[in-house]
Assembly symmetry: C2
DNA sequence: CTTGTATTTAACCATATGGTTTAATACGTT
DNA sequence: AACGTATTAAACCATATGGTTAAATACAAG
């Protein structure tokens, strides 16, 4: 499946082991063994996680003798940040609208008390 | 598995259908049928996606007659934004360090030419 | 109380994910 | 050539994911 790049990015970030690997790499490039050291997990498991991160273009890999040093590549993270930012903005806006709505509600409190019954499809768009 | 909340958030965001649902909900609350309309997918499938979003606390659900209106809840997104932001900062920093490193490299160009052989474990921390 | 609408549950299926262990590969060193 | 180290590949397993269809549930209205 793995539709688009954004999906691949979020999917890669959904695993705590992989996020920890990225954190490690943010302090500098490292070999697979170095990366694997803190985890109580087999080397092949880490190797698979690295492959996921590489396919999501969150890391790039070099070739130095028998080592395949990994390096953080933050471009997809910026893309993800952009996506999320869009909703952060929405959220701020929404809080403003909620505030306005609550004030409107408070103003119409008395009128509401006299209404006989509430219609079922009257969902408020806050 | 679904370790922590951050994992749940990223995992929920990893699906394009779910991201589209969030986009729809950012324009206002909606019923399941309304949400499902644009997708060529069965209602139960949408229902499952909504459950995932709800468990990730990205939406909340009401109960109005036979409708279960969904509403966007952006808190986890802010958490995710925070996590990603950390790496955006790293990335800017890293670009600065790379810049500095390249200048240093350029300065030592001649000296490097006289070095006899490169040691294998001499990975630079850029 | 029956019908219609909205939604979820159940059962099922195919594929993906995350882990394991046991080879295989690649390379530097002796 | 043989050995040790670094890493990946293969085969396997359990569980998760994303979808389906058919049935169950919840509620409003006739």
């Amino acid at each position: 499946m793995t539709a688009d790049r954004l999906s691949a990015t979020f999917s890669a970030l959904a695993d705590p082991t992989r996020r920890a690997i990225l954190a490690r790499l943010s302090t500098g490039a490292a070999s697979v063994n170095e990366i694997a050291a803190p985890f109580s997990m087999s080397l092949p498991a880490i190797s698979k996680h690295l492959k996921v991160l590489e396919r999501a273009q969150l890391i790039s890999r070099g070739k130095e003798a028998q080592w395949r040093p990994c390096e953080l590549k933050a471009e997809p993270l910026q893309e993800a940040a952009g996506w999320v930012e869009q909703y952060r903005q929405f959220w701020e806006e929404r809080l403003d609208r909620l505030d306005a709505y609550l004030q409107e509600l408070q103003a119409k409190e008395k009128e509401k008390m006299t209404a006989p019954k509430k219609k079922a499809n009257g969902r408020k768009k806050i």
